[in-house]
Every structure is written in structure tokens, then in C-alpha cells.
């Protein structure tokens, strides 16, 4: 029997070790797995590399881990948003490393990681400072740069509904990075609003097939 449902948020993140590379879904607040990030904060893992579109805003979610000094490196496309100060302060103080990646390249690097591809050539970024040190190649007369795939130890994602096999649906633009991040981690943990009976999700509307998901947990579950 396959049982990916775990009891609560604390159990879902209990084995994430120090030094892990972690993918987190979310575009601003939409699709951000706030409860899992909160549980990770409580769990105490440190020295983390966090891969997400943004670098957190306010004092919750990613920002909470940043403020607590638990993140050594952020890989993201847009570390600038309303009420973002935690990351800014640490970055200016040289206490957090930043790898800035164009958003489409970030998405494709994650997709490639999940698809078993080592990397790819893209025109995006050619001739800019984000191409420094990267291999270049002319393909069909167009300048390209090489971008390496991203793989991670864990992915924390927010979905809408899930079942015990790990099948997931999403809502609105909360989908964003979730489906690709689910494929690119050794262990993908999905927080969902509702866990439904096997067979209750229409196969036609499942966005993430369960094979990509190792754990499903209710967003509201407390230990």
C-alpha cells in the first residue's frame, strides 16, 4: 500500500538536515508553502540553500528563515518586493549569498533537473553580466549561454487538493513553480488544503502525478 499522507507538518519536515538544498514554490505569496516553511523554521535546520522566485517578504514564510540566519544562499530571480527587508539587510552586510537567475532560466533549470537533463543553451542573458563565466555557443546564428540544471534535496510546495498517492491539483496562479519543483527534488513535500479519497481527483485535472511527490500533508495540521 502506498501511503504518502503524513500526520502533521512537523513530521513532514522532521528529517531535513542542515546544509540541504531546498526548492520552495511561490510567486510572492501565491503558491507559497507558508505552513511548511514555518514548520521548517520550528525544526531548526540551518546552513540551507533556498531556491525560490523571491527572497521573502514581511516576517513569515521564507523571510522568517532569512531573518533567523538559517539560509546561507538564495537562488532566485527577483529578491525585491514590498516589505522585503530581511534579505536586503543580510545581503548588504554580506551575510547571505545570492545567485541571481532570469526567471525563465530558473524555471527551465528546475525543469531540466527534474527531466534528467544536465543543462541547456539559451539566448536569455547573453551579453549581460549574468552570463559571466558561462560557456557560450552560436546555434543557428544566435548567441546562447549554457545554464546548468538545478536539483535539490527537498521541494516544499503548496497545492490545493492531494490524495494518498501524491496526486495534486492547484488553484489559480498558485500553481507557478509547484509542478516543476515537484520533479526536481529527491523528496517532495506538498502541503494541501484538503486530502481526498483515492479516486476522488479526476485524472483529467491532476496536474502533478503522484510519482513526483513523496509526502502530502494538510496545511492546517498541527502536531
Amino acid at each position: 500500500m502506498i501511503q504518502k499522507e503524513v500526520k502533521n507538518l512537523a513530521e513532514a519536515v522532521s528529517d531535513i538536515p542542515d546544509g540541504s538544498a531546498i526548492l520552495s514554490s511561490g510567486f510572492g505569496g501565491a503558491g507559497l508553502p507558508t505552513q511548511l516553511l514555518e514548520a521548517l523554521y520550528e525544526q531548526g535546520a540551518k546552513n540551507l540553500t533556498l531556491i525560490s522566485n523571491n527572497a521573502g517578504s514581511g516576517t513569515n514564510g521564507i523571510a522568517k528563515l532569512v531573518i533567523a540566519g538559517r539560509i546561507k544562499k538564495m537562488i532566485c530571480s527577483f529578491p525585491r518586493q514590498k516589505e522585503e527587508w530581511a534579505f536586503d539587510d543580510l545581503y548588504r552586510a554580506g551575510k547571505i549569498e545570492l545567485e541571481l537567475v532570469p526567471q525563465g532560466t530558473l524555471a527551465e533549470r528546475i525543469r531540466a533537473g527534474g527531466a534528467g537533463i544536465g543543462g541547456f543553451y539559451t539566448p536569455t542573458g547573453y551579453g549581460t553580466e549574468l552570463a559571466n563565466g558561462k560557456d557560450t555557443r552560436v546555434i543557428d546564428g544566435v548567441n546562447h549561454i549554457f545554464e546548468k540544471a538545478i536539483k535539490a534535496d527537498f521541494a516544499l510546495i503548496k497545492a490545493d487538493k492531494g490524495d494518498r498517492w501524491g496526486n495534486l491539483t492547484y488553484r489559480g496562479t498558485g500553481r507557478n513553480f509547484g509542478p516543476i519543483m515537484a520533479t526536481a527534488a529527491r523528496c517532495t513535500i506538498a502541503q494541501v488544503k484538503e486530502i481526498v479519497e483515492l479516486g476522488a481527483l479526476d485524472p483529467e485535472v491532476v496536474v502533478t502525478p503522484g510519482i513526483f511527490v513523496q509526502r502530502v500533508v494538510l496545511a492546517g495540521s498541527k502536531s
Binding site: G28, K82, P102, G104, R171, G174
Partner: protein
């Protein structure tokens, strides 16, 4: 010194309406964060123009109001939006396949500088205190079939934002197709920058002087 007070500068709304003239029926369009987003207020009802939001929404509607607000449905600027009938949602990799794969017809971005070759600098000024953030700008600049730039013609200190070579960090090389400013509409062509139209009260010669880079008159 030129008397600038006689020039009837185009407002943001005027520039937006001018850009709309160049967006055909059936176009799939991505509007960058900031000024370009205001273009959505002027889309004509007799043309079907589909707005794409890089966070996975095609067929974006107006900003959400009151009960419509849903924190899981936002635009690229993270503001709550609505979906039009016929809208579709996708994940981030597919959304950037639309952009990078050349499926988006027109993208409109803001810019700090555009060069005579169409190079664009729009993501950072190089200020060491500012946090570098690129978002989807580099993908959009190269991926869309046409790149329009919406910007002020001059900086606050009066320098032209049309330059021989960008001095700010580049977003993309040879990417811009047309520039829409408060003073003029200027196409980037293999022959150079072509001034298509300019603000009332301004002569071509004055536009040329203010721009600081060679311009070609479209009607010549």
C-alpha cells in the same frame, strides 16, 4: 537653450494609447511591471487582445476588486487580478515556454536606456546599495516576437535615454523594435533609429537635438 515649455509632452495615458494603436487584433501580449501595465486600461473592446502574465496566466482580466480578490490569483506585480472567460493557467516552465519559445507576439517593458542598435538596459542601475533583481526581463526582452519599450525620453536631469551604447547593465542585446516616449515614437531599424511621430509643439530638429543620437525622419 531650447524652450521646452512649448512642447505638449505625452502623458503616460497618451503613450499607452499610442502603443495600443500598434497592437493588432488577436495579439498575445505581455505587459511589464510598472508603466506598461497601465496599457491594459486602454485596450479597445473591438479587438481580442490576450494578456499574458508570466506567473502562468493567459487571458488576464482587470485588477480584482472587493469580493473578487483571491491571493492565489495575482499578476506579475503580485496584485490580485481576474481571469477573462477563455483564460488558461499553466505552470512556470510552460509560461516561459510561451515567452522564450517566441509565442508571445508583443512585450512592452520599461527601460533606463535603449541604444541605437536596440540594446536595452532596464533591470539595474548598478547602484551598489540596490538589491539586484532581474525577474523575467531578460527572457521577455529576447523571447517575444516584438519588444516595445515605454519610457520617458529624458532622465530627470535632462539626458537622453536613447544612447549610442548603454552604460547601465544590459538586459539584452539588439532586442528592441519600437520605443514609445513622452516625446516621440521611434522604431529601431537596420538603418538606425527612425522617428515615426513626435509630440505636438516639437519639431523634428528639436527632437533630434534632445535625443542626442542620430534620428531618421520616417516621412523622408
Amino acid at each position: 537653450m531650447m524652450d521646452l515649455s512649448k512642447i505638449k509632452k505625452r502623458s503616460t495615458a497618451d503613450i499607452a494609447k499610442r502603443i495600443v494603436q500598434d497592437i493588432p487584433d488577436g495579439a498575445h501580449v505581455n505587459l511589464g511591471i510598472g508603466q506598461p501595465m497601465s496599457i491594459s486600461n486602454y485596450l479597445p473592446s473591438d479587438r481580442e487582445i490576450l494578456l499574458h502574465s508570466e506567473n502562468g496566466l493567459l487571458g488576464m482580466g482587470p485588477l480584482a476588486q472587493g469580493d473578487e480578490i483571491d491571493e492565489e490569483l495575482v499578476n506579475a506585480g503580485k496584485q490580485p487580478v481576474t481571469m477573462l472567460p477563455g483564460a488558461s493557467l499553466c505552470h512556470h516552465a510552460d509560461s516561459f515556454v510561451m515567452i522564450r519559445g517566441g509565442h508571445i507576439d508583443i512585450c512592452v517593458l520599461g527601460a533606463f536606456q535603449v541604444s541605437i542598435k536596440g540594446d536595452i538596459a532596464n533591470w539595474r542601475t548598478g547602484d551598489p546599495k540596490a538589491i539586484p533583481a532581474v525577474g523575467g526581463a531578460m527572457d521577455l526582452a529576447l523571447g517575444a516576437k516584438k519588444l516595445f519599450v515605454m519610457m520617458e525620453h529624458l532622465t530627470k536631469s535632462g539626458e537622453s535615454k536613447l544612447v549610442k551604447k548603454c552604460t547601465y547593465p544590459l538586459t539584452a542585446l539588439e532586442a528592441v523594435d519600437c520605443i514609445y516616449t513622452d516625446l516621440a515614437t521611434i522604431a529601431v531599424t537596420p538603418n538606425g533609429l527612425v522617428a515615426i511621430d513626435w509630440a505636438d509643439g516639437l519639431t523634428f530638429e528639436e527632437l533630434q537635438e534632445l535625443s542626442g543620437v542620430p534620428l531618421i525622419r520616417a516621412d523622408k
